[in-house]
Amino acid sequence: MKELVVLSGKGGTGKTSLVACLAALADGKVLADCDVDAADLHLVLAPRVLHREVFRGGKQAYIAADRCAACGECAVYCRFDAVRFDGPATEVVGKTYRVDPIACEGCGVCVHVCPAQAVELAPAASGEWYVSETRHGPLVHARLGPAGENSGKLVTIVRNRAKAIAEARSLDLVIVDGAPGIGCPVIASMAGASMVLSVAEATLSGKHDLERLAGLAAHFKIPMLVCINKADLNAEVAAAIGEWCQRHKIQVVGSIPYDRRFTEAQVQGKSLVELGDGATARTVREVWRNTRTLLEGRR
């Protein structure tokens, strides 16, 4: 089974628009939306959710006000600056210290150091994940709760479930839509994958962030392909990206122009290739053909 992960470093370069096209073009695959904190693929694929599950990413500390002796040990030991002092207890308000649920990373140090056993750890619901059916095949997607933690863990769940579905249905391809950046969720979506397809925008920022992403792919020894997007925005930068890729033995699978029809497709809840044939759609098809060939060439 092959796993193709679409990433970009910089955000907004067109990952999801491209993945939506690949969803329409590729046969026999499972789709996984691993951009769990700003997932958009479902907006195009209109999934019918078959299965949903709560994601508990971590724990959360709570201080029981009635037992709290206001000694402040928890605040001394908390490394996340998550314990806030609300002022001394009064006859009306017993509360003294409290945990800021957004800053708390659920480590449990406060529970350990509290001499009054006033702090407890409880599971924090921090999202949901779904298995769905779409017009282009199965989709596994998720939604991290607002200000959620542990997005990497949720990414791993989504990926593993997508692979399990592919296996069960004897499909030999998983296409992953990843998050921007090079941090925790990106590492979780890339590690162990067959290949990274990086969507690089023809801007200096796009090039800069592509280079960082390439560093990450090299670090994890995952082969990388590049698709240049919005290539006509700056032909000079597009050429520089091409040269940079050549120097680093990274294959460029195509150059897609800046095309407003990508937005038009979004508005219609479709992928660009479903809008009909045109020059850009033909380029996107070629991107997929080249990617597939290179992907299949790999053991």
Partner: protein, 282 residues
């Protein structure tokens, strides 16, 4: 005043707004500090072209086990919520990538066998960019833990004057770390279905922090109606609409400031700041 520039979706124009706002305000003699908190993909330097005069590595403490003192009691592994330290029979394994540096394992170890050693996650760099004080964080490639590096960048927040914080995209912990303790969160949104969807997610996140927030619509055109309607219904003020203009996109692609290519842009940034000031006071 601390202004965080954020967005749910990537590529909506956070960095364009943040860098141009910083330079426009500096031109008006405001003391401005620009802090690039998008440490995974920091791009502010491309536009502000700072002269980096200082660089500091940022480390987080991770456990190191002294095998001689360790009695394999297993308390560290039981305590760790992140499976970053595991006691397996005769061996204690540590996984620094999973560690949140809470210090719990060394606290609970009854034998004093765990000490914390620094592990580098990235760098904080700073220096002048014209009249703007520039600070950025750069995550080391292969490192996963972003919030500690953002905290290190934010140590450079000035006591007075204007601070502009360029946030990473998304809605999870790096965003929350960036916007924490700011006076106003400016959400840059683009009027597309993806843009609107991710704006809603970003608003949910910002609401959890209870910080004042407002929207800038970037690349606004006839299709901006949905975002406007949403903001109207949700009671979120729109402080500026920047029209769709290929010149701005091309200027951006070259790593140049929009205020240099589109004369009206500086005026928009000043108006934005006046609106921000008004909003933050309310």
């Amino acid at each position: 005043m601390r202004i965080a520039i954020a967005s749910g979706k990537g590529g909506t124009g956070k960095t364009i707004v943040a860098t141009n706002l910083a330079v426009a305000l500096a031109q008006d003699d405001h003391p401005v500090t620009f802090l690039d908190c998008d440490v995974e993909a920091p791009n502010g330097h491309i536009f502000l072209k700072p002269e980096i005069t200082h660089c500091e590595t940022v480390s987080v403490p991770v456990p190191e086990v002294n095998e001689t003192l360790c009695t394999r009691c297993g308390r560290c592994g039981e305590f760790c919520q992140y499976s970053a330290i595991v006691c397996l029979g005769d061996a204690v394994l540590t996984f620094p990538d999973l560690c949140h540096s809470c210090g719990g394992c060394s606290l609970v170890c009854p034998d004093g066998a765990i000490r914390e050693v620094p592990r580098v996650v990235g760098e904080v760099e700073w220096g002048p960019a014209g009249a703007v004080r520039f600070v950025q964080g750069r995550l080391r490639i292969g490192q996963a833990r972003v919030p500690p590096l953002i905290r290190a960048v934010k140590k450079h927040l000035p006591q007075t004057g204007i601070a502009i914080l360029d946030a990473p995209p998304g809605t999870s912990c790096p965003v929350v770390e960036t916007i924490r303790d700011t006076d106003l969160v400016l959400l840059v949104a683009e009027p597309t279905p993806f843009g609107l969807h991710d704006l809603r997610l970003a608003v949910e996140t910002v609401r959890q922090t209870r910080l004042p927030h407002a929207v800038v619509i970037n690349r606004a055109g006839p299709s901006g109606g949905d975002v406007r309607r949403y903001c109207d219904r949700a009671g979120i003020p729109i402080l500026l609409e920047i029209p769709e203009d290929r010149r701005i996109a091309e200027t951006y692609s070259r790593g140049e400031l929009a205020i240099r290519a589109v004369p009206a842009y500086a005026g928009w940034m000043r108006a934005l700041f006046e609106n921000v000031r008004h909003e933050a006071l309310v």
